[in-house]
Amino acid sequence: MQDSSHAPEAHHEELGFWRKYIISTDHKVIGIQYGITALLFMLFGLCLMLLMRWQIGHSGQAVPFLGRLLLKIHGPDMISADKTGTLGVISAVLYNSYGAMHGTVMVFLGVVPLAFGAFGNFVTPLQIGAPDMAFPRINMASYQFYLLGGLVMLASFFIPGGAAKSGWTSYSPLATVGDLHRPNGQTFWIVGMVCLINSSLLGAVNFITTIVQLRVKGLNWMRLPFFVWAQFVTAFLLLLAFPPLEAAGVLQLADNLLGTSFFLPTGLVVSGTALHVSGGGSPLLWQHLFWFLGHPEVYVLILPAMGIVTEIIANNTRKPVWGYRSMVYSVLVIGFLSFIVWAHHMYLTGMGTRIATFFQTTTMMISIPSVIILTSLLISLWGASIRFTVPMLFALAFLPMFGIGGLTGLPLGFNVSDIYLHDTYYVIAHFHYIVAPGTIFALFAGIYYWYPKATGRFMSDFWGKVHFGLSFIFMNAVFLPMFFQGMAGMSRRMYDGGLTYAEVPAAAGSPGIPGLSPFVLGLNRTILWAAVCLGLAQIPFIINFFWSIRHGRRAASDNPWEATTLEWQTPTPPPHGNFDRPMEVFRGPYEYSVPGQARDFTTQNEPETAQPLTHGDSVRS
């Protein structure tokens, strides 16, 4: 099932452009394909968010500049003129589409493909000393499924009725009866999801097999870089948690296209007419099947990020990571527990106290290994000689940002407090803190960190620091206010930004109506401007990314960061097959500042009897 079984070839014929860059089976090319595609989707998701924030902050006003373009894409049903006659008012239905697709695109087309598909593919085989993934052609197929799924999702904006508009969670019965075109955006969403799920399943099989089978000689389990452990557990989460959602997707597709009632209860009435379906279905069944994936999915979002941050912190503190063993056990426990916490997303469905308490208990339990990992990384900073490189800045920022995100999850994990906070902006703030200044910062860190290995050049240091500083400030400016909005009771998914629930002050003759205060509503404007600035702050990054390929400062060696792990032992950029000499590992992944050694790092593959270098032999670039 693999490539030629003949003796290893010294060289193979030069592949044409098509086979080298487009239908390549090389994990590095596939990793970069995933990376570029994912970053483009994330930019698209950012744009959707800006359109939504405009509507929230200026409900009923036309979007500046873009009115005609939006009208052309979405049609007059969704885009209308405001009081001054300017085109570009986003309708409530379109707002729901933007909301559903922002979530879907960011999670399934952006962050996971970048964290798992891009970084996982590029770095993992290199870090374990392998020539490629175990199944290179399946790897290529997994990227192609991803691209197909993404294109199907994008195409859904252009069909009658527009894209899916029932949340990224696609709850029935709204998902089935909300848009009565057949097929509709929901159909495309489900088909797109099936493609993406298959992509992830193929990827998961590949990653696990590769990590189990292709570790180089001497690389036993407890010598693996934490990044590889994180990808390993992530692959298991994808493998076992996605299929129930695929099953649910098939069932919802049947509801959508075949008129079945898997998730439609008996007696459903839509717009005054009884729906002509058999009934007998259960909307809660969809929720259970969705969140069975939904919860492990959030660990898929965070674990690769923790892996990246660990590598960068070890490298830039010039110390081994504190508590490596605890971190490994913690990540395994997180993987296991993440399968049995899902109904904490469903506390308000009337489950009954016994089962709710079960899920609350497991949810509290899973916070422990997460805290262990975060604490280990924090303690790793103690007594370190920190190099404040651009990757390190992002990695350091990850720690408190993930801390805030994680800790604010505790009131949501408790049944009682969640009754108040469920479906408010508090939840939005909580999970965005983990994914946005959390995971995405880790992904930025990883890009700046491994860029010199992929290209042989550094990204501009100055613009990297600008990107970091502005992003850090504006991420917090966008998401911190949302905690207060949520605690004031502002619900999610309101297209008018909560104006319907604005408080009416007491006046002569009337007691007034309690509601959202002008301060809370005013925060919508603040957040909008912060979001715009956040978007603008990504421009230096985009320019830096492409400009540095040709013009960045050259890396003076194959290992410019003076790191210990195996990916830095290849030529730059690594050729097909990765290593130009046989690899063997003799020690753990973070042998920095070992007493008695001349250099402050010892690579994993350096033989035991190597002569220590004299001080004159500096490898600093």
Binding site: P131, Q213, A247
Partner: protein
């Protein structure tokens, strides 16, 4: 560039790559069908009284299909063992029988599906229900014709098969006697497709998805048996691995049916 352990086993794990790969994939399939079985249980337990049928499907056909798949599983493993004993001819025969079994299974399944699509339930204006197989030869549009049907008092009466003493007979129902749909889109005439009830919905999805796996597995087994048989001459170990891996998938397909048959046909 060769991927290590694609054919030879890795000493410390004792496995070659594709064997781990297929078991991982099967694990994901366990979760897929597990979710569908969970859905079945939930839908059944939550069903309104008098809406979940018993013994609606043809048990004899289902049992035959079960035996056919069991035979195919035995043939697959005989085929693999023959290859290990260097008997390529025997492998070709056994695997050929496997493919015949697959076709038989699919044939019987298609017959069963068609039978369901020919089975109609017609709501009458007097509150009774006419139920049975449609007479496709009827061209008179003023009537709805059954080639074998019965009239019952309520929907719940249809949840068990007709008693032994009830004769199914030709019926011709005037269209004017048939209830109109509440949404105005014609008459209350519906066949036993997945839209008809939760039971049929989960039946079609479970067996449909299973059938797709039968087709997929059969295609792979056929490809290895037929067009790719040349690999036996050039790289016999790799060939045996392929046969083993595709065989594991096939056994899994049989395993799922072993649970599907009693759950859908007998309970």
């Amino acid at each position: 560039m060769e991927i290590p352990y694609a054919v030879k086993i890795r000493p410390d794990t004792g496995l070659y790559n594709a064997k781990i790969g297929i078991w991982l994939f099967l694990a994901s399939e366990v979760m897929l069908f597990g979710a569908l079985f969970s859905s079945y249980i939930l839908l059944r337990v939550n069903a309104d009284p008098g809406t979940w049928p018993l013994h609606l499907l043809n048990v004899k056909l289902g049992a035959v299909n079960t035996l056919v798949l069991i035979l195919s599983s035995v043939m697959v493993v005989f085929g693999w063992a023959s290859l290990k004993m260097n008997n390529f001819r025997a492998y070709q025969v056994y695997q050929g029988i496997t493919l015949l079994c697959a076709l038989t299974f699919l044939g019987i399944k298609s017959f069963e599906y068609r039978d369901k699509f020919n089975h109609y339930e017609v709501q009458l204006k007097n509150g009774r229900i006419a139920d049975g197989h449609i007479n496709r030869a009827n061209e008179d549009t003023n009537f709805f014709a059954f080639e074998a049907g019965r009239v019952v008092a309520s929907h719940a009466d249809l949840m068990v098969p007709a008693a032994a003493d009830v004769k199914l007979e030709e019926l011709k129902i005037p269209m004017s006697d048939i209830q109109d749909r509440a949404d105005g889109k014609g008459k209350e005439i519906e066949n036993y497709g997945p839209w008809h009830s939760s039971y049929l919905a989960i039946y079609f999805v479970l067996t449909g998805l299973h059938a797709l796996h039968v087709i997929g597995g059969a295609i792979v087994i056929f490809a290895i048996w037929g067009p790719l048989a040349g690999v036996w001459k050039t790289d016999p170990e790799r060939y045996i691995n392929r046969v083993e891996v595709s065989g594991l998938f096939w056994h899994f397909v049989d395993l799922i049916w072993i649970f599907l048959f009693p759950v859908l046909y007998l309970l």
